[in-house]
Symmetry: C2
Subunit: 151 residues, 2 copies
DNA sequence: GTTGACGTTTACGTAAACGTCAACTATATT
DNA sequence: AATATAGTTGACGTTTACGTAAACGTCAAC
């Protein structure tokens, strides 16, 4: 088990590739190429060019992966950019790490707060739904002129 | 215990009022008056006018309350408008009720899904934070600048 | 030699829910 | 009368994360 994969049809594993087109990455990550170009606009990736065509390295691909994960975790593109930016300078990655750590902790708190809000909203909604069901049941049995004034 | 309240300084309880100014309501609900006017733009409230001055009835106040609660529960203004719109037509409130009920159930599902996402993100973040801490710890012990436990 | 697929850049559009600012009016107080 | 206070309208600004259209280049295939 030295190589990652090597089946009969000489299918090249993506992890063995060195270059990627924008559409390849877009498909792989389930975003549109427009999105990837947008990230470039925002300075999150800087692929090489063959003329005008973008050529993405494995590193670029890695950055994209990080970006997308960041988005999933609810970070803003700006924050992600900072995390990414502070990463490349050689030497002490401590600055970047503490920054990222801090952002993570902030985000964690935000998410926990959000969860609390959502839980409250869910409880309220479940309550409301139950009441609505009651009203519906009674107004079904009652006749026309029965408006309960909920407002 | 007939009236709601009646203390010495004859302070009029808000629930006894019949009219409200925009700023009163804005303060009461913790929004700006611009926000309330915005809701009017969107057709969510339609206060009477004394000339050009808006005069809000208790009903309007009730609608505002509903709007704000709707927002807290994550409904769009559009949805809230529909719920509100379908209320006023006299007769069978069944249509409105079922609509609202449906929207509530939809929203409930959305919120539950969101909570799931958030929970996953939280788990991932907690994981990441732990790892970051490890990295920091090891790079701290290696280098000179030994600032152990981060703020 | 044309078709089609894919690429490029530039720039404006969208959605939500307001905020901000300017200019104006109306009423009340000094 | 002049100022203060509260209200009005309209238009444009803000934020985030893209979408969409225009107008064009390039390259291989048929």
């Amino acid at each position: 088990m030295i190589g990652k994969q090597m089946n009969a049809n000489t299918k090249i594993d993506k992890d063995d590739r060195v270059q990627f087109s924008i559409t390849e990455l877009a498909e792989e990550f389930g975003v549109t190429s427009r999105t990837i170009r947008f990230y470039e606009d925002k300075g999150l990736v800087n692929p090489e060019r063959d003329g005008t065509t973008r050529i993405y390295s494995r590193k670029d691909r890695g950055r994209l992966k990080i970006i997308l994960r960041g988005r999933r975790l609810g970070f803003s593109l700006q924050d992600i950019k900072k995390m990414l930016d502070m990463y490349s300078p050689k030497g002490e990655p401590t600055g970047q790490l503490t920054f990222t750590l801090q952002k993570c902790e902030e985000q964690l708190e935000k998410l926990i707060a959000q969860r609390t809000d959502i839980n409250e909203a869910i409880a309220e909604l479940e309550d409301g739904i139950a009441q609505l069901r009651e009203h519906l049941a009674s107004s079904d049995s009652a006749a026309d002129g029965c408006k309960k004034t909920i407002a």
